[in-house]
């Protein structure tokens, strides 16, 4: 088994047993910053070798997916789940956006198995982060009401994850190769070790969320598993439409299936304060993250392999 998955399980089990274990807050923050930068850098380096214009169709397609997914999730949560409007909108936004931690595990999975994937996936990750947030706010408030869209966009575009991802992309893109080589030992060679530390803490956090599950019952559990499965289908379909490789299709499915737990919670807390943050975080961190990391990624790869015609 991959050790990073074992680190996640260690955290999960230690958390469920209420062990006296926690990553110091500042370390967790730094580790998640490093993941964002590293993924950005890696994408940027690859991007440098291809014409940017070719990527526009993919970027556009992915934005459409980021708008569509929460629009599908919202009525399900509202009608079937019986959630209040704000809660349904907020959860939908979480699932329309993406999780960098899940993507990082997916990338590690591909790299370990020497599976090729399109190098601009980190760029697509960036594109997918934001649209769902805006859709979520509109679903909660309607278009009419005077939302301070300027403030909201500012808040999101200048949030930690976008700045570090885009910053990393740009640095990787602009930096000269010799210079990049000198920062590789820190940002690239340590990547999986740092991801392991991150997953240890994610396991501990997920364990706390699992504790909250009892309160919210079966519907949330079902949604937290079925929604990513549905999204993965959409993501894989899109990968196929865009003529992606098997690895790239699997990673796009992974992105679609992943649910945000950094950017979206912060944005929703400010813009849709009446939504209960525990609901969305329990689903996203307590169910969907573990599901994707432990079961989803291999499954999505399986799925990508079965798409009719796939690239190299």
């Amino acid at each position: 088994m991959d050790p990073i998955i074992l680190f996640f399980l260690l955290g999960l089990i230690a958390g469920l047993l209420r062990a006296d274990l926690r990553l110091p807050g500042s370390i967790y923050e730094f580790v998640s910053m490093l993941l964002l930068i590293s993924i950005g850098l890696k994408g940027g380096v690859e991007l440098a070798s291809q014409p940017f214009l070719n990527l526009l169709p993919d970027m556009l397609a992915v934005v459409l997916m980021g708008i569509a997914l929460p629009l599908v999730a919202f009525p399900v949560l509202l009608k079937l789940g019986g959630f209040r409007r704000a809660d349904a909108a907020s959860i939908a936004a979480h699932y329309g956006s993406v999780s960098v931690g899940t993507f990082a595990v997916g990338v590690a999975w591909m790299v370990t198995r020497d599976i090729f994937y399109e190098s601009h996936l980190p760029l697509l990750l960036v594109m997918l982060e934001i649209p769902a947030i805006l859709v979520g706010i509109i679903l909660a408030r309607g278009m009419s009401k005077g939302t301070a869209w300027g403030d909201v966009s500012r808040e999101i575009l200048l949030g930690k994850s976008i700045v570090l991802l885009v910053g990393g992309l740009l640095i990787g893109w602009l930096a000269d190769p010799a210079g990049m080589a000198s920062i590789e030992p820190f940002f690239f060679d340590l990547f999986k070790g740092i991801l392991a530390v991150f997953l240890l803490e994610m396991g501990l956090i997920a364990a706390v969320q699992v504790g909250a599950l009892r309160k919210y019952g079966l519907f949330l559990v079902a949604f937290g598993i079925l929604m990513p499965l549905f999204s993965a289908l959409i993501g894989a379909g899109l990968g196929w439409l865009l003529d992606f490789s098997v690895g790239g299709t699997a990673l796009l499915a992974t992105l679609a299936a992943s649910a945000s737990y950094i950017a979206v919670p912060a944005a929703m807390r400010i813009s849709v304060p009446e939504a209960n943050p525990t609901l969305s975080l329990t689903a996203s961190l307590g169910i969907t993250f573990p599901f994707n990391v432990l079961i989803g990624i291999p499954l999505y790869y399986e799925l990508a392999q079965r798409m009719p015609i796939a690239g190299p």
């Binding site: 807050g25 501990l204 950094i262 912060a266 400010i270 009446e274 975080l281």
Partner: protein
């Protein structure tokens, strides 16, 4: 206090979610606070345990020394704007200060 001239002011202590630090501090200044002190905290209340385990889960503890009027309008504003949707506690007490014009 024998020879040091102390004046009474209000000390308002707010414990709330770290995620609203920025807008809240802006509100405080707009409402007339001349300063504030912030520390990171964790805690438990009616909205459950807030353990500072990760970004969205931490508290802050804000102290504002101000006059009665400012305290009243801050209290009214917080009540109206934040009480319903955010984990928040607000405490008010008297303190003596040496430079009353500062607050």
């Amino acid at each position: 206090m024998t020879n040091l001239p102390f004046t009474i002011r209000k000390l308002m202590t707010i414990v709330t979610e770290a995620v609203i630090e920025q807008p809240l501090l802006k509100d405080l200044e707009r409402l007339g606070a001349h300063g504030y002190t912030v520390t990171s905290a964790r805690g438990k209340g009616s909205r459950g345990v807030r353990n500072a385990g990760w970004e969205a889960d931490g508290n802050i503890r804000i102290e504002v020394v101000c006059d009665l009027d400012t305290a009243t309008s801050i209290a009214a504003h917080l009540k109206e704007r934040y009480y319903d949707n955010y984990a928040m506690v607000m405490l008010l007490s008297d303190v003596q200060v040496m430079r009353p014009d500062k607050f």
